[in-house]
Symmetry: C2
Subunit: 243 residues, 2 copies
């Protein structure tokens, strides 16, 4: 074990530098502009060296993506403590949108470009309603289910369908904004609130209990250390060339 440990530790520094450089390029120029050459140039190594630490460009991309997704979940984590499901949901929605705006390239990769990872993000959706899964979708679905139980959704409502539609709304807001910066003429926060009001009737008369609209601190300080938990399955997909 000691030997293995030491070996791994020797490798880490360069691996980190590769990821750092890759993150910089991606953040600045987008994922399409990421190439092994550019990374190598950025850290002052030859392209071939990168292959000692990553099997392929794709593996680097996946590592960055996993990082971004972990960040999103970290942002969600403190919200789980909010007892009122409506308030929690509001916080989740705002945090989701804020994340997309603040980390456009990560968001693009996770939800707009890389199908495998989009699939992964959706994986838990199905049973998430009663499961306390820690996926983005699971958290939203769970809050909605609780709200239905609390009678804040129409009895006829299908909580799972609402969760899907609500997520679509959030994704649509972020995705359209990332495609065209002028998109929401309405301020983003206002737009999210508009959507929430439309869905849950805050603008409508509060039938039973009027939530006093306790302001959710939507700025989660995020003491997040960029987690480097890289993707586990190598899943070397050697690019099926089509003749």
């Amino acid at each position: 074990m000691g030997t293995t440990e030491r070996k791994r530790r020797q490798k880490q520094p360069l691996r980190e530098r590769i990821l750092d450089a890759a993150r910089l390029i991606v953040t600045r120029d987008g994922f399409a502009a990421l190439s092994m050459r550019k990374i190598a140039d950025a850290i002052g190594y030859a392209p071939a060296t990168l292959y000692l630490h990553f099997d392929s460009r794709d593996q680097i991309v996946r590592a960055l993506c996993a990082e971004g997704y972990a960040q999103l979940l970290e942002r969600f984590a403190p919200l789980a403590a909010i007892a009122d499901p409506a308030e929690r949901l509001k916080g989740l929605c705002r945090t989701y949108v804020a994340f997309g705006i603040e980390h456009p390239q990560s968001y693009r990769l996770i939800f707009m470009e890389d199908q495998p990872h989009t699939d992964a993000a959706f994986a838990g959706t199905a049973q998430a309603v009663d499961d306390s899964s820690d996926t983005a979708s699971g958290l939203i679905a769970r809050s909605l289910a609780q709200m239905k139980t609390a009678g804040r959704l129409p009895a006829s409502a299908d909580a799972a369908a609402w969760a899907e539609a609500l997520w679509a709304t959030l994704h649509g807001i972020v995705a359209l904004h990332l495609m065209d910066a002028t998109f929401p003429r309405t301020p983003l926060d206002t737009l999210v609130d508009t959507a929430l009001d439309a869905w849950f009737g805050s603008a409508r008369e509060p039938t039973s209990a009027a939530p006093s609209a306790a302001g959710v601190a939507l700025d989660v300080p995020a003491a997040l250390a960029p987690k480097r938990r890289s993707a586990k399955r190598p899943t070397a997909k050697p690019k099926a060339a089509q003749p």
Copy 2:
């Protein structure tokens, strides 16, 4: 003029064949797989020949995109005749989603990949509320404004914000589905209806502010003919390479 006409007509056949081939490739393999060489191979010409009819690959892509957008507007056209704004809006929403599902590659290009065209699609959004603009967003915004006038939206609602949020929902549904075919576990039509019901209260009980003015359908003058205006400024953007 006669000479110009004749020249243009001589060019058209091959131009069409180029576009046909390009459309096929794009529909089958996606936009990323579209290359001048593949088009040339498909129609049995040399790559260089394509440049007699198009300045660049980008111009071909734009032509396909304009085509797709015109198709979307054509699908919308007959819906303008629906007098009841709520019914019209429902039709618009379903049509929008259906188009995205049926023409995934066109949708991707217009709204998910090509920023210039996404920008163009959004261009009319601003004044569209009182304008009978023939953009996709304009049609939705106009219907919503009419619904508000008819009292079917909360008086406090900002019709423009609702329009943006509703569009985001539709886009989110389509975009997520295109990224992951398993996305809406709920059937697509059901999901759209769920959103519409939640937003406009068909499912809610008409407690106090009932849609009393059920028949207050504002008629719509806008007879928008399926405009074929392909609207393209060549805008040759020769790909700014970044050194």
